[in-house]
């Protein structure tokens, strides 16, 4: 690979030189901003002229124009190499903006439609006795379900994940550690519905009834690999000098791990667990298979059907009336707020508690 570079680049550089790099014309520094302004103006003009209603279509037209305009102008004023460079730059910018559009649209829609019925009543009442197609009712039973199921899943998976990561970092050598590392990676990719089906097959064999616990076990399967991966990264960041200093004082290894290694990395570990919680809090499929959903408040996760926020959204979406759509959006807003807050707090902790790496 390095040969390719050494062969190809001088040739191109030579081509550039033969044209006289030093005397070339250059576009001013503000040129990209100028192109952007021109293409946005054109995009709006074309969009409005053609009678397109959607602002996003206007934006897409403007983006395409931006790419074309900057290529054409640059190749006219400078040269083809510079034009290609400019083309790549503008395409890359457009790619990024393309990714932001759905995110903004999604958040905009969820907030816009969600605030309609989201109030204190919605948060503190269940759907008991409320026909799906009528207004009223709330999300309280689903909130309780989500909190309990996610809490149980965390109780199961956090210790297992933490210990596995400790094993991989502190003890792990040989075939077993390699196998565990590989399967942790593969496990990250298990579809949530397959985790649900796995617990379902156990339930069918053992004759167990749906309950919050079953859902929590499926969620735990999804959560363990995430916890392992993030904890592993954090434990690796703990400087070896700390371990060696403690061991040199004659402290047994398990106390070194418990009293030195884990406390040093605890910020990052907490972050990892919180991100994992944020990931599983939105899982619908296992809940649908294993917890069954309920309109009523059931505070016992070990017995009887429960609901959960994502399942509630699915349920309300399926009812298919205006009132139920409103409830679905409101619940979606609650769920997104929950997940985003967890995310932000987790990253905050990560920055605040980041272990100092030797530098």
């Amino acid at each position: 690979m390095s040969n390719v570079i050494q062969d190809a680049t001088p040739a191109q550089a030579a081509r550039g030189l033969s044209k006289g790099t030093l005397s070339q014309r250059h576009l001013p520094r503000w040129a990209p901003a100028g192109f952007a302004a021109v293409s946005i103006a054109l995009g709006v003009a074309v969009g409005a002229g053609a009678g397109l209603h959607s602002r996003i279509q206007w934006g897409l037209i403007a983006a395409a124009l931006f790419v074309v305009v900057s290529y054409v102008v640059t190749s006219a004023v400078e040269n083809r190499r510079q034009a290609k460079d400019r083309l790549a730059t503008s395409v890359v910018w457009v790619c990024f903006l393309l990714a932001v559009v759905p995110l903004l649209s999604l958040i905009w829609t969820t907030v816009g439609r969600g605030v309609k019925v989201l109030d204190g009543y919605f948060l503190t009442h269940s759907m008991a006795g409320v026909p799906g197609f009528e207004t009223g009712g709330g999300v309280y039973h689903a909130l309780i379900g989500t909190l309990e199921q996610v809490g149980l899943a965390t109780l199961v998976s956090a210790p297992i994940g933490l210990l596995t990561a400790v094993y991989l970092v502190e003890y792990g050598k040989g075939a077993l550690a390699k196998a565990v590392t590989f399967f942790v990676d593969v496990m990250t990719g298990i579809p949530s519905i397959v985790a649900g089906l796995f617990i379902l097959s156990i339930m069918l064999i053992a004759g167990l009834a749906p309950s919050g616990l079953m859902g929590a076990l499926a969620l735990a399967i999804l959560m363990i690999p995430v916890v392992v991966r993030s904890t592993e990264e954090m434990l690796k960041l703990v400087p070896n000098e700390l371990r060696e200093a403690a061991l040199a004082l004659g402290v047994p290894k398990w106390r070194v791990i418990l009293k030195v290694v884990i406390p040093t990395a605890i910020g990052g570990i907490t972050t990892g667990v919180m991100l994992a919680i944020a990931r599983i809090a939105g899982e619908t499929a296992p809940i649908m298979l294993l917890v069954f959903g309920s309109q009523l408040i059931n505070t016992n996760p070990f017995e009887g059907a429960q609901s959960s926020l994502p399942f509630y959204i699915w349920e309300q979406y399926r009812v298919g009336s205006e009132a139920s759509y409103d409830r679905a959006w409101a619940a979606a807003l609650v769920l997104i707020a929950f997940v985003m807050i967890l995310n932000l707090v987790a990253r905050g902790i990560a920055r605040w508690k980041a272990p100092k790496t030797g530098r």
Binding site: D85, A285, M340
Partner: protein, 329 residues
């Protein structure tokens, strides 16, 4: 139930060893616990395969049709008939559409964050893309069904008019855009963050020497990327796309809300209809009897094997690349 009863280890308590203790016993217990949870992970993976296979075999024994080629899903019928042909087709087609859309854009975003964005903005911008991954799939689902589907009507008409001759984009059935193509677009948005973040990591690992050498020879930024960044990152991008593919294959709720399922195979991507493994499980589970559930488990087993192969291959590519770049550094 092996998971909760005998194996879930409680977090070890930091008990105070007596003054004469050397801590050897503690060491053994701790090693046992941590090794045990590593082994537990392997046991879980193995038992997923075993349990799914067992229940699936019960269903397959009763199946009157051919599991691989039947275009029907009726395990409650007499005799029960079900097959995964349509589901396999729909799963692969929608995931491929997602890949075709997502991978180039994701590579662009990854390059943007690693090489183009202003240095100080790179980290926050990366975080914005990661936020896309934090949105729960059911919310993508209702956004897709209630917002994106009506929205894509215009695009569908346009594609049909100008690209209809490609067969793929010919719309032969009237109906809202609850098609495999729409599902593909939605899946593309959902797998953008993972493909982006893995590619970004690889692009950031490109040896600075290579880039600076190219720059010193007068290469433009695009030439640096084409000559030193992309060749270095190629295998990383491939494995990133496969990780994305793994996600897209198993996505349930977003597909279940957007698609209007039907048991036909058609390469007219814009026609409503089709189905995927996960979507079929979500849609058929409520009305399924015990045989129906086992049949769904059988289809889930196929999905499991599919994602296992794709993810395993992706991880192997990454692992091999690691050794290679280590030797190269």
């Amino acid at each position: 139930m092996a998971i909760t009863t005998d194996n879930a280890p409680a977090p070890p308590v930091a008990g105070k060893p007596g003054p004469t203790s050397t801590g050897r016993a503690g060491d053994k217990i701790f090693l046992g616990l941590s090794q045990g949870s590593g082994i537990l992970l392997l046991v879980i993976m193995a038992s997923i395969a075993v349990f799914l296979t067992y229940r699936a075999s019960l269903a397959l024994a009763e199946n009157d049709g051919n599991f691989l080629t039947t275009f029907d899903w009726n395990p409650a019928g007499d005799p029960p008939v079900f097959g995964i042909a349509v589901l396999l087709f729909g799963t692969i087609v929608s995931s491929l559409v997602a890949m075709v859309i997502a991978v180039p854009i994701a590579v662009g975003i990854a390059l943007f964050i690693s090489h183009y964005a202003p240095r100080r903005l790179a980290a926050p911008l990366a975080y914005v893309v990661d936020l896309l991954a934090a949105v729960p799939s059911i919310i993508y689902g209702i956004w897709g069904a209630l917002f994106l589907v009506p929205y894509l009507e215009g695009l569908n008409l346009w594609l049909d008019e100008f690209l209809g001759w490609t067969y793929l984009f010919e719309k032969t059935e009237v109906g809202v855009a609850r098609s495999l193509f729409t599902v593909g677009i939605l899946l593309a948005i959902m797998i953008l963050p993972i493909v982006t973040s893995v590619s970004r990591e690889v692009f950031l690992q490109v040896p600075r020497m290579n880039e600076e050498a190219a720059l010193a020879l007068g290469a433009t930024r695009w030439e640096v990327i084409r000559l030193s960044v992309l060749p270095f990152g190629r295998s990383g991008v491939i494995s990133a796309s496969m990780l994305g593919l793994g996600r897209a294959l198993g996505e349930t709720m977003a597909v279940a809300t957007v698609l209007s399922p039907s048991f036909v195979i058609s390469l007219h991507l814009l026609n409503p209809g089709g189905g995927t493994f996960a979507q079929n499980i979500a849609a058929k589970f409520d009305e399924a009897n015990e045989l129906g559930r086992d049949a769904l488990i059988a289809s889930g087993l196929v999905l499991f094997v599919l994602t296992l192969l794709v993810n395993g291959a992706a991880r192997l590519i990454i692992a091999r690349r690691k050794e290679y770049s280590g030797a190269n550094a």
